[in-house]
Symmetry: D2
Subunit: 374 residues, 4 copies
């Protein structure tokens, strides 16, 4: 293999050594030995604060769903391609299918009766359903129904397949830490059974994981939890109730919300109380009608999807009006805030609900997390 | 203060030094200096396995409730006595009000309209309701309704009072680590406000703690949990569903129960996934009709209360027929097993439900827990 | 077994129910059912702060060593009695061989050539040597030399024996959590091999544990640590240097001491950085000549031994002049302070060195620790 | 800002949708919306096991030192460039100054009397000295001498500067997690004082950190440790003794080494027993003369420097003869093994000593670490 050398940039600057023939010789010496000096690179490498390569961007749900519908017609699902998933590619990340430098976000689509074949991988994953129903995701042979508002985590290295048991197509979003594991080179992948069994085509109303782990504060002593949450579905009925309770407590004068008019629940692992996945944090935000969140910047990046309502989003200087299904990214150390449109009658139903996922657990685990009011 | 010396026992035994005048002189020397040799004590002090000072004992609910009713008539509740609580005193613990060497168990009783005054203490506590309703326990000014089947933890150093808002008396059981903190000399106690306020007489259907922490797998980001569970009530409807689900999974051929016919859930802290209190483990067992648990012995002691059904209990060689409300203790390293009477029709309704609390978290934390199939 | 009932005390007091025949009947009913009301017991059971049953006491080393010498002549060491150990019995603990409610402290003594037979127990233990040398403690077949100033932890359930390889008797102190495990009923004990092997009579200068774990900040990757410290000897040369360094840093104007003139190091488990034993904390204090520590009270109890120097000790109102080898106890929530005599020339050599062990890890693990400046 | 769209590759393959005009339209639709399908990317993105972008490479110390010497003459050290550091640039990483995808490795060089100015950054760092002495690294105003064989960690966000107090130049290597924090966008950087003070020019024989934390198993109670090791220097005398002890134990028949002839110590944080830095693991390997290590592959990447001795290294199919100072990288999931040349007389002095650093703590913290015998 022939490997090219890397040219060292010699620039005239008060912070750089004075250009000279001798310096050019030295730099040539560096090049020949695959060496690069810090002093020519430090400005980009070690900035005063994170200077993201990504950029804020908004994807409209109507476009996502239109293209997914069309892919449903043209692109088969099967072994090799594995999933009919279409990834959000951050416009500033050079053509990589990365929503942010660490996170993958995609719309996945399954036609009536279709199966996505079984596989497993170390990449941590989840599904979130902004509309529709009819698909069961089968994790470790436990069929888990997916419906509007449901959040479905699936920790790395669990076997999983999907099955559309209904007579209509269904779309949902997938979030994974693919870019993080790609860049840190830690990922494994294995094919499972090609044939989807009768058992996997079962369509129970609740997964077995929910029957074991879905009772609040109650742990089944007879089973062991592994890495990541053993609870495979967080149902909208609970998420909605938790958000409603926070705003009601606020109106009664009690603590609960994270800031005025802003309810926030985190999806957590019932076996540990911590994040639902080792590398991905997931949350549901509710901004009351006519209210807004305080601008904030944080280490790490996020992807949001509007679950319900309408409002305005500001990310790093860009502002968009958003509605159901729209997705946007907040890169690292970029100011963001959201506001909910005022309801016609000030009713709670006009709240803006936002699903969010981020890479925060990575920074928590490594003592690198920071945040700042913008 | 005059302190008596402690006589050293001189005995003739192959494992003891030969009695002699010189030895008597030596022992007298020990006595004068408050010294005691290991060799005369080791048999009791360092046994091959725990040799409990407590003994198995059963208290009948009909007797407990009868005496509590009578105490309701004769004994007022107020500052100083603090609570109309009557403790189970293990017959082998020398007149101490201890159910076991580490655990306190009592029946508490409140007459219509009565208040038990506010106080706080480092002793960790919980309430469990075998029958009745109408009392609100007020923890940190959050009124928590108490009803049949509910488990209500209350970690140390939280202000709390009780209020009977109904027109009938109500009884429930209290569990605390009073003996443990007494013997390790770590307890603090403080009186709160004497007057019970309007706010504390509120009778909401759900406590604020449940509105914040009672949604499965969902953590409120705007509040912080302290030591012990922030969830102040674990409702019977959930506990019952969790147990029913485990037995149903078993009958469908899936894992879930701890052993055949034996469902088991642990009440856990949603903020950590661990025990609900730092020193007390609490669980609900359901033995299916006609089934029995395997005999087991464990480090640490437990108190059980029959919540529902009827069956037989064997503890350390004693066997009792038990029914709703009956309470019994299992001392450390003592074999225990339970069996449910066969239902008339084999129906699930004939299951034996047992609430249990134990000191297991102490031994877990200090790496001293052990168990063994008997 | 006939069990006596426990009489309930009926007293006339504003905080107690009014004495009456009906109340006497009720109390008799309690007695018959092994029940004890809270309201007659709460004052003792749930005090405002720990009210220790133990009392401060001082044991003079000259008396301890004199009696141990005599026991060396009269009392053989062997299977059954196991150890020639003489325990400090707190004068207020009713003739139990307990220094405090949770801690055992004893002087142990071995004659030239003697072996103490192998056994193991769940009780956590350590040895500390105030004077002498010549004994090897053999832990898991690793012979560990014991010399003046050395601290030797030995976590529960490790096989151990002792061997005096010298031509003189040797004494040292043992500390264990015997009372704690006794009262919580969690202790196990097992006899080992009766014959002490050639291997165990080896007298290496350093134990194998020190060769693996005794290099600062360096972990041997090829071995696993269990519960408790894998380092079996903490040598005086290191302890002394660490204390000297702290006082030198103080004199140079840098942080290091816990308070002016008071250096303090904790013996810690190199595999975790935490306490050396799950239930026992051990420390060495050095009070510079002429300086004193601030009075403090803490949850939990301690035993101290003067390692070197002379000074005065105040515990709960009692004050003693102390010198090398003297031992004293500080009960829970009892004020204590120590002061070092002024050196003739103000030299460092006149410092007061105090070895201390306590039950603090129990309270740390269970979130019950508190302290307060007295 | 104009952002280019990313072309989707349409390929003819059994695992890809059949090329067609309709498909081309769909792909064009994707491009217009910044979307990329999984099915065209999955082969590279989600491989069966890590397929590293990096490659094994060896840098000869004689070349590194020659170029560093020359840089010493031509390149000043000062604010802006910050350090005269020259990074190893993995030939397969496209001209980035990264030794591996997560790790930075550089030779740093300071001329007699020179100061490198104070700054701090969240990137975790260490220094390791393969030869020379005379520089003090000043961490939080604590001057730490650097000498052959010393390992000097410096956790993120500590102020630090360097000072050459000798009359000769000195070189050493720096390791940091710059690439990891760069790609995850979590890094902060701040300039410190420009002027180096008198205090910072102090040249004590031991740092204050060593006086506080460098005593084996002894924790100073008066100071608090932050994130990362509070011990700022791990001296060669200790590392060498630990390795020598392991090999001696092996020859005596006891456990200690990780495999026959292979001693291994890990530099650990004395306050936790864990890795010395949150993102970087550091170790010293000693392969006895004539012995070799078993081939291994692991998740994550490493950089090695030969500290002493001579031998052969095999990484992913490439084999090099190595000697003092030579550096090489082992990419993720790439087989590696090392062997020490046979000594002339089989003496221990012919052992091969290898310093290694890796990104393993990242994968440990996130449950992504795996290894496999090759």
């Amino acid at each position: 293999m022939v490997v090219e050398t890397f040219p060292i940039r010699m620039v005239e600057s008060p912070e750089q050594p004075t250009p000279s023939d001798a310096l050019a010789d030295l730099y040539e010496g560096f090049e020949g030995e695959f060496l690069i000096p810090l002093w020519t690179e430090i400005g980009d490498l070690m900035p005063a604060h994170p200077r993201t390569k990504a950029r804020p961007h908004l994807w409209r749900w109507r476009n996502l769903i239109r293209l997914a519908d069309r892919a449903g017609e043209l692109v088969p699902v099967g072994r090799g391609g594995e999933r009919r998933a279409i990834a959000l590619a951050n416009p500033a990340l050079g053509g990589k299918p990365y929503a942010t430098p660490t996170l993958w976000a995609a719309i996945q689509y399954l036609m009536p009766g279709e199966d996505a074949p079984e596989h497993r991988h170390t990449q941590h994953a989840f599904r979130f359903v902004v509309e529709g129903e009819g698909v069961w995701t089968i994790v470790g042979r436990d069929p888990v129904p997916m419906r509007r508002g449901d959040f479905l985590p699936q920790a790395g290295w669990n076997w999983h397949a999907h099955h559309n048991a209904s007579s209509a197509p269904m779309a949902w979003i997938d979030g994974l830490d693919i870019p993080f594991q790609y860049v840190t080179e830690s990922q494994f992948f294995e094919f499972g059974r090609d044939e989807v069994t009768e058992e996997e085509h079962a369509t129970p109303d609740r997964s077995r994981s929910e029957r074991l782990w879905g009772h609040p504060g109650l742990t089944p002593v007879g089973v062991q939890a592994g890495t990541g949450s053993p609870l495979l579905a967080y149902r909208w009925v609970h998420t909605d109730a938790a958000l409603r309770d926070q705003l009601a407590l606020e109106s009664e004068g009690f603590r609960g919300v994270v800031e005025p008019g802003h309810a926030l629940v985190r999806f957590t692992n019932p076996a540990t109380g911590g994040d639902v996945l080792p590398t991905i944090r997931t949350e549901m935000h509710r901004i009351a009608a006519g209210r807004e969140s305080s601008p904030l910047r944080e280490v790490g990046s996020s992807v949001f999807q509007v679950f319900d309502g309408a409002g305005r989003v500001t990310v790093g200087g860009e502002t968009w009006a958003v509605e159901r299904g729209d997705m946007f990214v907040v890169p690292s150390w970029t100011d963001w805030s959201v506001s909910a449109d005022a309801g016609q009658d000030g009713s709670d139903s006009a709240a803006l609900d936002l699903f969010r996922f981020s890479d925060a657990p990575i920074f928590d685990a490594l003592h690198l997390y920071r945040s700042e009011k913008a």
